[in-house]
């Protein structure tokens, strides 16, 4: 069933955004629509939601889709809100909602779904064919309503969909906010009753709630799990979250830049909830989100007094209603999270919070359900939760516990957030760049690949410098093969051995549990230990030995009896390093081999020259790689000729551009893999700006190339550029680098004899 079929006649009923603006949950929406199909009658779907992943709009969109399809499936959407204080009042509200939405659907009048109508008024709107059974339903309800049996009343109300006579449609009930059902007052636990009543009904339903809570509720209600399906609702993928930011910003009329968009996606870890409330705050404050500073100013405002503040303040108040206890809790949560050992015992928490066991159990349960802590009954692990929660906790601790001046806390938080922003993006860019190795190993599944792809020396002697066609045909003619194992589990080394975190980035070193021949026996189990060594040159023997030592050491400490070390380096390994790898029975591959392996295991130069509105200014965007720096250099040559630069100077400009492009390609982990170039012609000079998104390499932070750098065989680019051009300056940008180079028609100063034009 295709759930995405925008049409002019599509009516928005409960959805808060138009269908086209609902992004990022297409597959989940499709899954809910499948649940509504007759084959799933009597089955339930538990939507297990990560906190702040957002579910309401998904269910509302599903409601609108089903209403508009107008088949025999009658959508019912019910949200439990904090306004309901008891299970009985919530159940009565459910009955009202059910009758109202049933009648709206049967009359095909969406407006009835939202109108403030009493049961009696609804009865008057019922179709003649439905009048009798709805009248009976309301009469029965009125009888029970004034009885003393709350449980019977709750069950009656929740069971209303069961009373729809056959041939009058099949109710499909979606309940939102079931996490609130646990905390309603009274003797009846609404969440348990919902699951019991719905689980025994013949209609299909969706129950959405916090993942840690809803599964527990299903167990408590002794549900038949054979009749329950589950769907996990996590934060959005990066690309979907970016789309969401764009859509919400447009809807809220907030101006944003790509840089700000990407920061918000990373900072809120793709959470639709935080993205929505943040952009709503931007609209309310008439703030554009262009730079990191714009974003972090608003973020800090939000933490101190906006929507984010209210969200966490409300949660904390629910978790710990008493103010004095709340302050103790904030203190304990922050100190435990900031301490070296984040795990402590239940008893320690009880003493620190001065609480009885049952009261503490309730507090810990609520914190655990919100995923602010991990509590297994005996120990409590602090330090979990989204970044916004950690920041909120920190400022509450400093304000409420340490009584620090608010202005100081605000200033520190703003400075910290700003300093964190480039690191957040850098981590993201590196993750993208490193995803290749992770993805490749995860796809190992007993494929046969040429052995030469794991043997750098042999590969180098056969194929180094060869055209790609020659390499491909050479590999096709290879006669020696390696059969890859099947990967069953893959994680970073740091996940196994925390010491590795200090030695390399998370995804640079991986542990893969594999089985040879896909045969699950001790003899076939091999642990692959793969490390991606960052080096511009062939890795030398010392570096190779250090890596082999640390990986072997790790294997020994983790009792990996059979393991295979695989080192990867951009440019491969020196002869002596490779001989060492052979002796240690380790594999060694270059980045090129890795690419060829990826192609076996699994899976156009367009330049855009635009003259800007400024006369004599040209913009050009070229993709990184494929010698595209030459396109930029040749363009510069044409422009420089107009200014009558001498051939020697033109060559210097071209070389500088080539080097700037190489720097951008090699160092930036650029997310879009593009180089942006701006050529500005002035009467006496040519100003060229080369920009790329991504991270700022350490050696480009304005540092002059010293003698050490000159000794290196790579990393000369910036030194060359400074020598070839008259002025070289890094422009401040939030994301990536922007290098401005100027060449004068006449040298400004006589200090650079080599640069005469």
């Amino acid at each position: 069933m295709n759930s995405r079929s925008p049409s002019e006649n599509f009516r928005r009923i409960l959805g808060r955004v138009v269908q086209q603006d609902f992004v990022g949950r297409a597959s989940e929406l499709d899954r809910i629509m499948v649940q509504a199909e007759p084959t799933n009658a009597g089955r339930g779907l538990l939507l297990l939601m990560e906190p702040s992943a957002g579910v309401s709009e998904l269910l509302r969109q599903a409601y609108d889709q089903l209403f508009n399809q107008h088949s025999d499936v009658i959508p019912i959407y019910f949200a439990i809100t904090p306004n309901e204080t008891t299970a009985v009042s919530a159940a009565i509200e459910f009955l009202n909602t059910f009758v109202q939405q049933y009648i709206a659907f049967r009359r095909n009048e969406p407006v009835v779904s939202n109108a403030p109508l009493t049961l009696q008024e609804l009865l008057e709107l019922a179709l003649p064919a439905d009048l009798e059974w709805i009248e009976q339903l309301i009469e029965s309800y009125n009888r029970l309503r004034f009885g003393n049996d709350d449980k019977a009343l709750v069950r009656f109300c929740l069971g209303a969909p069961q009373r729809v006579p056959s041939g009058r449609g099949r109710p499909f009930v979606m309940v939102d906010g079931s996490q609130l059902a646990e905390y309603l007052n009274g003797a009846v636990v609404l969440g348990t009753e919902i699951l019991r009543v719905f689980g025994r009904g013949s209609f299909s339903f969706v129950l959405a709630g916090l993942r840690r809570q809803i599964l527990e509720a299903a167990h408590d209600a002794k549900c038949d799990f054979e009749l329950l399906d589950t769907l996990r609702l996590e934060q959005l993928e990066t690309s979907e979250a970016a789309k969401l930011v764009e859509h919400v910003a447009r809807r809220q009329q907030v101006t944003t830049s790509e840089i700000a968009r990407d920061l918000l996606v990373q900072q809120f870890a793709g959470s639709p909830f935080f993205i929505n409330i943040f952009l709503q705050a931007a609209r309310e404050k008439h703030t554009s989100l262009i730079s990191y500073l714009d974003c972090q100013r608003l973020y800090v405002d939000e933490l101190f007094g906006g929507h984010i503040h209210r969200h966490f303040a409300d949660l904390l108040e629910e978790i710990s209603p008493r103010l004095d206890t709340r302050h103790l809790l904030i203190r304990l949560l922050w100190e435990a999270a900031a301490g070296e050992d984040q795990v402590s015992s239940f008893e320690v928490w009880r003493k620190r919070l001065h609480m009885g066991a049952s009261e503490l159990e309730d507090v810990l349960h609520r914190l655990h359900v919100q995923e602010f802590i991990n509590w297994d009954g005996a120990t409590v692990e602090a330090g979990a939760g989204p970044q916004a929660w950690k920041d909120y906790l920190k400022i509450r601790y400093r304000l409420d516990v340490l009584n620090e001046p608010r202005a100081l806390v605000v200033a520190d938080m703003l400075a910290d957030s700003l300093k964190r922003a480039p690191h957040t993006m850098a981590r993201h860019y590196k993750q993208i760049a490193d995803a290749g190795l992770r993805d490749l190993i995860s796809r190992f599944n007993c494929q046969r690949v040429p052995a030469v792809l794991f043997d750098y020396q042999s590969f180098s002697s056969k194929y180094k410098g060869a055209e790609s066609d020659t390499v491909v045909s050479g590999l096709a003619a290879e006669t020696e093969f390696v059969k890859l194992p099947q990967t069953v589990h893959l994680a970073s080394c740091a996940a196994f051995f925390s010491d590795m975190r200090q030695l390399c980035e998370e995804d640079h070193c991986l542990v893969a549990h594999t089985f040879e021949e896909g045969s699950y026996a001790d003899a076939q189990q091999v642990i692959w230990l793969a490390a991606d060594i960052k080096s511009k040159l062939e890795v030398d023997v010392e570096v190779a030995r250090a890596w082999c030592d640390r990986l072997e050491n790790m294997a020994e400490r983790l009792s990996f009896s059979r393991f295979q070390i695989w080192l990867i380096s951009n440019e491969g390994f020196s002869d002596s390093a490779f001989r060492l790898l052979e002796r240690r029975k380790a594999f060694g591959s270059s980045r090129q081999q890795l690419g060829l392996l990826a192609a076996r295991v699994g899976d156009t130069v367009v330049s855009d020259i635009v003259q800007t509105s400024e006369r004599d200014e040209f913009l050009m965007v070229v993709p990184m790689g494929e010698d595209n720096e030459l396109i930029a250099a040749n363009t510069a040559e044409q422009i420089a000729k107009r200014l009558t630069f001498r051939p020697e100077a033109i060559n210097q400009i071209k070389t500088a551009i080539v080097e700037a492009c190489i720097n951008a390609s090699e160092h930036s982990f650029s997310p879009d893999r593009k180089i942006y170039q701006r050529f500005r012609v002035e009467s006496d000079r040519l100003v060229i700006t080369i920009s790329s998104r991504g991270i700022v390499p350490a050696n480009l932070n304005g540092a002059n190339s010293g003698s050490e750098a000159a000794e290196e065989r790579r990393g000369w680019g910036l030194k060359l550029i400074r020598t070839l051009m008259d002025e070289v300056e890094f422009e401040r940008v939030d994301d990536g680098t922007s290098l401005r180079m100027t060449k004068y028609l006449r040298p400004q100063k006589s200090t650079k004899g080599a640069n005469e034009s």
């Binding site: 180094k464 210097q652 070389t655």
Partner: protein, 126 residues
């Protein structure tokens, strides 16, 4: 006689000296082709190398680093190396990056061969 050693790298031997021709843009890929060809010639018994830059208009820093690697390899094999017909801009680049300290620059291929022939008669002492 030209040696068919790769799609784009031309080379030929004069006695025990190999002449390898660089292409118009010396970058990582074309540099590696030259390196491969030089290694091949040395393995075949050449005692001297001339890399001719008559077609080369632009050299980038990665290309230079590969040339340094070739010089290393040649030194290890006890072979002499000369660069011929390098344009002025590239000579400046080589000077900036210290390449000219390790290699003889000749006006053209003929001069390079003449320079190297002087050393060819000198016995190599290991």
């Amino acid at each position: 006689m030209d040696t068919p050693s790769g799609k784009l790298v031309r080379s030929h031997c004069v006695g025990t000296t190999a002449v390898v021709y660089a292409s118009d843009y010396l970058n990582k890929l074309t540099g590696e082709k030259i390196e491969r060809e030089c290694r091949r010639q040395l393995n075949c018994g050449c005692r001297a190398l001339v890399i001719d830059f008559s077609d080369t208009k632009l050299v980038n820093s990665i290309g230079v680093s590969i040339l340094l690697g070739i010089i290393d390899v040649a030194e290890k094999c006890g072979a002499r190396i000369a660069f011929s017909e390098v344009n002025n801009e590239t000579v400046q680049l080589f000077e900036m990056l210290g390449l000219t300290r390790h290699v003889v620059l000749a006006k053209d291929e003929r001069e390079a061969l003449m320079n190297l022939s002087h050393y060819e008669t000198t016995p190599i002492v290991h």
